[in-house]
Symmetry: C2
Subunit: 330 residues, 2 copies
């Protein structure tokens, strides 16, 4: 796969965003988050999604001028309204405010309603971890998967993030949708025909299959467990933010006005930095100390993407030329 | 299966607890939680576990006289130490305090270290939901499952709870361990030979199997996803509480001194009760409106256990006679 220097990707995104009407820090933030997402191995929410984001702004589906703003200050938690502005900017502002609240109250929460797609969920966990905080956040989505025991899509895949800071910046970063495979990965495997390592859903005969192209219904992780977790994440996000549930989102023409929760915990108020880092390292070392299956490697969440990020900064960011050409032409 | 009236089960538990040395409200709370757990269809953490709990208290493994107490008040969050007292009492006190903090700060958090087994995780979510709060809590455990790609147990199954209140008390209640099946259910299926509906782990040849008796390694829900979630829940519980990680717990002779997180969100500060209830009901109605698979029924988390609870109050609590006889003899 061809590669592009990170700085060149950032610059091209910056140029297009400026031409689209963004300015100042917003342009920097958007260009950086989209470039970081590709750098870390999530091009589905980086380069590949960038032209679609620009189209959404140009069409007004995402409101260029709207920004998330507080609606209610309720102690250690605040409700914010995203006004259907850019989801990345809304998300960064919301986790940023949750971190500020955590500095004051140890735990800080922002519940954001009425926002648009935040691209890579992990970006907001990284923001918290870079600030020395544990970050937990999730979003609801439109209907993407059937509940356990059902045929019809009723649940979002509602990605959930947990981030735990490490001093070297290689944070523990869990970023998982409630379907066994993300929509992006489903699409890639359906195109290439490469089988999944484990079943990703049900085929038309109701059998679990590793053939992405044959999947009619996405599989919730752990069957009834991921199904139940998706439902709860949806309800909590909607109730805390006063925003839309997956059911309500899905009554619209397209996925807009989603609900999100951002939690930060300030570790600097909870113990010595060295002792905290030692406890995390002890766990990660023990995790890696067990015997691995043949051909496998035991990793912690975020380890592979951190490695990809380092490689991309050194060797360039891998790009699918089709999408890169689309950006150059914008 | 034979049944016992709920009040009789409560009374017998109360008698044995009093004879063991508990008094006052503690006796009521313990008897009620153990009886409720059996009533709601979780006898593995109710009647069946009660004799073992009494033995743990008599042997001093659980400290009869110790109670959880605050260590640090940090705004909307507090650190508590469980002093290896009874996990049920420590858990009820911790979620109780998280609810109080949520009344003041909208979100309240208690991180509890050094506690003992809390029996049914869902009990603490129910406490929050009965108080009109969203409750989220989890615990770490000793090593019970291998990480994705590994052969050796390195992760706890770290049960996670999310509870969302409903006005009629039939709360949405997710209570899930990170293994596909709980230890209790593994044991039951291994004894009866009844196959699991989905694979529960790997056999000695490394193949996924529905035969509980053949399982050598428990399966994390969603493979790498449940594996990663278990790791993160463990680290967050240990770091927030200043307590032990799964790795540290497993260096002891037995599972003691676990770490837990209790979060409460006071919905009464976040909107009109009727509007909140309507939003939840809308989602549950839509969930049930989809087509079900042949022989299946789509339910929301907690629906089945609520039904079992009602039936048990009406018809008696189902008991395995062996365990009931053991209690009568105590």
């Amino acid at each position: 796969m061809k590669t592009i220097p990170y700085e060149e990707m950032f610059s091209q995104f910056h140029r297009v965003l400026t031409a689209t009407g963004f300015d100042g820090d917003d342009t920097d933030t958007l260009a950086r988050v989209f470039a970081d997402n590709s750098r870390d191995g999530v091009p589905s929410h980086g380069l590949n999604r960038f032209p679609g984001f620009i189209r959404d702004v140009q069409s007004g589906r995402v409101d260029l001028a709207a920004r998330a703003a507080p609606v209610a200050a309720l102690g250690a938690m605040e409700q914010w309204d995203g006004h259907r502005g850019p989801g990345v900017l809304n998300g960064m502002a919301s986790m940023g405010r949750a971190i500020e609240l955590a500095r004051q109250y140890t735990v800080g929460a922002v519940a954001l309603r009425n926002t648009s797609h935040w691209m890579r969920a992990g970006a907001y966990g990284m923001l918290a971890a870079d600030a020395g905080c544990i970050g937990i956040c999730w979003t609801n989505t439109s209907r993407l998967m059937p509940p356990y025991g059902g045929l019809d899509k009723r649940l979002g895949n509602n990605p959930l993030v947990m981030a735990i800071p490490r001093p070297d910046g290689d944070h523990v970063l869990l970023d998982m949708a409630m379907t066994q495979f993300s929509g992006g990965r489903m699409g890639i495997h359906a195109r290439t025909g490469e089988p999944f390592p484990v079943p990703g859903g049900y085929d038309r005969d109701g059998q679990l299959t590793t053939d992405a192209g044959a999947i009619e219904r996405a599989l919730p992780i752990g069957h009834w467990k991921g199904s139940g977790l998706a439902l709860c994440l949806d309800l909590v996000a909607a109730l805390l933010s006063g925003g839309q549930t997956t059911t309500q989102i899905s009554r619209q023409d397209n996925e807009a006005g989603v609900s999100q929760v951002y939690l930060a915990f300030d570790l600097s108020r909870l113990g010595e930095a060295e002792s905290i880092a030692a406890s995390v390292q002890d766990t990660l070392t023990e995790l890696a100390s067990g015997e691995a299956l043949p051909g496998e490697q035991v990793t912690w969440p975020g380890q592979r993407s951190a490695g990809k990020g380092r490689a991309a900064l050194r060797d360039g960011v891998p790009v699918e030329w089709e999408f890169w050409g689309e950006v150059l032409a914008l």
